[in-house]
């Protein structure tokens, strides 16, 4: 595997990565801003995600929602997403529309605020509240992705608070608060731009210079609280049991693990695949197939880039199986992994699956661009992408076993458990009407 990669900086600090591929007349434009929920301060949570909405509300030369219309009229796809460590904005368009995609991203980087109004802010707050209801509050287990980071990091830690944010904080936010957040973080020196697919490099560089070159650097960013976190939780790891309107128990275990891109992160990736990837994994074979106490298992990392990542093991119980049974079974699996390690065949299976998934994902220009932006943002080196297969192949059973010994012990397991509520509102209503 060799993906051509060229990288350079503009004087204003914007880091640019170009990756040519002329297989199809398709080009992806992908912009990562180094701002996520971790950059928010207390009382001002939810702003990074709110901007994922506000950035589609128009800029000096683009009307509200016109960004969508222009890209779709050009035959392109687009979206944005928010994570603890970053937000990304991206378009994939027919290659002759490259200039449009670059121009749209530049217009909102340089000139978002002239188009921002109280009315737009109010509407998008309402949309975000509905997003929260839809994805979390009105969904079984939906609150897990707010509760787990809160459990795994102390309140002072930047990863602790909710990604979608406190609705009270969003309500309290003034237009000026929101604008100040934008001025602070959405600057060329805090962003990475990747272009992948069918383009002429000379033309792409000319467009990047014309659209992004004049945008001034930011005024510097405030220091964030420390991301340092001990490698384990210590003798009494956090544990929270949530009675909820759910059909079955679910146990989610978070282990502190090495940050994205470090050697230990690859060990964690393969450990996760041994535990939870597909039906040959330990958890599927043990808990779903053999014991039939679970209906769904998974293991994956959050890919956090500062201080500590999380390796998450997620088990949904079969109906009627107690949370104690599930929790005991998960602990037993992790105990065995820590004490006995993995064998060659298990590691080879995990490596083979990861390699195929990597190659499959790179078929798409949008994914190639996103991975290049990820490596550029987190590690300062998009060329790392070409070394990925080799990095996974270099992991040995000794390395995985050392990781398991160090990180999979009882002292490093924060547990979030959901249990069906004894008296659900439905049962109460039935009693009342009877």
């Amino acid at each position: 595997m060799h993906i051509p990669i060229e990288t350079y900086h503009l004087p204003n600090g914007l880091r640019v990565t170009l990756s040519e591929d002329h297989t199809a007349p398709i080009v992806a434009v992908n912009l990562w801003y180094r701002v996520g929920s971790a950059n928010e301060r207390a009382g001002r949570t939810g702003f990074a995600h709110l901007f994922e909405h506000m950035l589609f509300q128009g800029s000096a030369n683009v009307g509200a929602n016109e960004h969508f219309e222009l890209v779709q009229r050009a035959g392109g796809t687009l979206n944005g997403s928010t994570w603890l460590d970053r937000t990304n904005y991206f378009e994939t368009v027919p290659s002759h529309q490259l200039a449009l995609a670059l121009w749209l991203e530049a217009d909102r980087m340089a000139r978002l605020l002239p188009a921002m109004t109280q009315e737009k802010l109010d509407t998008q707050r309402s949309v975000v509240k509905n997003e929260r209801l839809w994805s979390m509050d009105n969904q079984p287990y939906g609150t897990w992705w707010e509760k787990l980071p809160a459990l795994a990091f102390p309140p002072s830690h930047p990863y602790h608070h909710s990604l979608i944010g406190s609705m009270e904080d969003l309500d309290a936010a003034s237009l000026d608060d929101v604008a100040e957040f934008f001025r602070t973080w959405y600057t060329p020196d805090n962003a990475v731009l990747t272009i992948a697919g069918d383009f002429d490099p000379g033309e792409a560089k000319r467009l990047v210079e014309a659209y992004y070159g004049p945008i001034p650097r930011g005024r510097g960013q405030p220091a964030l609280p420390s991301f340092d976190a001990p490698a384990s939780f210590g003798p009494t790891p956090p544990r929270e049991v949530v009675p909820d309107d759910v059909p079955a128990a679910r146990v989610i275990v978070a282990l502190r693990s090495p940050v994205f891109g470090s050697d230990g992160w690859y060990d964690a990736q393969l450990t996760a695949a041994v535990l939870g990837a597909r039906r040959g994994s330990r958890l599927y074979r043990g808990l779903v197939r053999t014991r039939q106490i679970a209906v769904d298992v998974g293991a994956y990392t959050f890919d956090l880039s500062r201080g500590s990542d999380l390796l998450v093991v997620d088990i949904t119980g079969a109906p009627g199986v107690s949370v104690e049974t599930l929790e005991h079974a998960v602990h037993a699996q992790l105990d065995a992994l820590q004490a006995l390690g993995v064998d060659d065949a298990e590691l080879a299976r995990a490596q083979a699956l990861v390699e195929t998934d990597l190659i499959r994902a790179l078929q798409s220009a949008g994914t190639r661009a996103d991975r290049l932006s990820q490596f550029a943002t987190y590690l300062g080196d998009p060329h790392r992408l070409n070394g990925e297969p080799e990095r996974y192949r270099a992991v040995t059973t000794e390395r995985v076993n050392a990781f398991a010994k160090a990180r999979c012990g009882r002292d490093n397991r924060a547990v979030l458990a959901y249990v069906p509520r004894e008296t659900s509102p439905q049962a109460t209503a039935a009693e009342v009407s009877a």
Partner: protein, 466 residues
Amino acid sequence: MSHTIEPTMSDDFLLRGPARPGAAASRPWQFPTVERRTLGDGLSLLVAPAHALPLVSVLLVTDAGADADAPGAEGLAMLTARAMTEGTRQYDGAAFALAAEGLGTAIDASADWDGGYASFTALRKHVEPALGLFAELLTSPAFPEREVERLKAERLADIAHAEKEPRGLADEHFAASVYRDGSRFGRSAAGTRASVSALDADACRAYAASRWRRGGSTIIVVGDITGDQAERLIGAALRDFRGAAPSRVTVDDRRTASARRVVLVDRPGATQSELRVGHVGVPRTHPDYFPLVLGNAILGGLFNSRLNMNLRERNGFTYGAGSGFDWRRQAGPFVASAAVETGVTEPALRELLGELDRIRNDGVTADELSLAQSYLDGVFPLRYETSGAIADALAAMVTFGLPADWFTKYRERVRAVTVSDVQAAMQRHLDPAAWQIVVVGDAATIQPRVEAMALGPVAVVPGVLP
């Protein structure tokens, strides 16, 4: 509102910015060339070579969809497909999974309304051994009783989950309300508690023997392989995959006889209401397919669609509103949907119904149509970046019996649709007097308000599934 942030940048050029660019000359693009071959005894082979990456996707399409489930045995097609990977003559389920995963792939079998599918994507170097496992699944599935019983229990757990999940509840109740009693399409493709509980390993074995057959099946191979290589490898691997084509089953896809009505599915305390409005649509091969696809894009398919712009961007009622035709060989449903805050259930439902009336009565503008056409035309190459996506597209062509030039003619057919084509199709196929309206939400709060809208009879039902 008038309050606007004062920009901090003073440079005039910065405030104005460079002018919006035009498009460069577009580069031509062709759907991958498809080689059609026959492997004897009714098995067809489609090969689409693509050599950019060392990957191959293999997908078998067979006439073993949920539409063929007998009354009382709903869920058998899906259970059988799922159970095919759970053990063969040579391997038990765990060993089968491990053998495939050791090759960096997973061999999956599944079913939807119109077909049964077995597939994998592997690195080129692993294709031959993976094909051996693939053939094993097709020729000697064992259906161990223990595994079939486990999969049944997992389906029952899915139903329990769907009962706690407003989207699942809404979709199931909507399907039940739009078709006539007894229609296969009125019950979940994966089956009900009663129907799934009645299935067993013998039923799966008999179903596989009668419908997972060589005759009438097509195998699709996309990726880093030539037609000759694919024919040689597949021909050898599937030598023992036998059987004549099964007969096609017809589903009762007629609309319910009920006029417009509301089913209010009660979820006490729900913070949002899930809305579904629609009725039976048309089959995938209907001549109005293109006008309907374009009309729906304008109504609720694109982000800038009327439904989303109204309910989300203008009113902030929802995180997203949309609509769609569920395309099947026979008529699947047309549905418009949104999840809205409980307190705005009534105005949101009013706006949603209003948009359906408006597109039917007033049609679409030339500007709206040109946006939808530009999008569908332009995005066409983007849809086929991966071997898996190309294989899926070819599978749809096979399942629906689309002509061989489908992909080469698609873009011009999109471009040929006119404003009056769209309006005529919307008038023919959207029927407000027949809307079946499902609202999943907190009945105590919303029932009086929905009743006051006088949309038709309102039935309140508990939030459970059969």
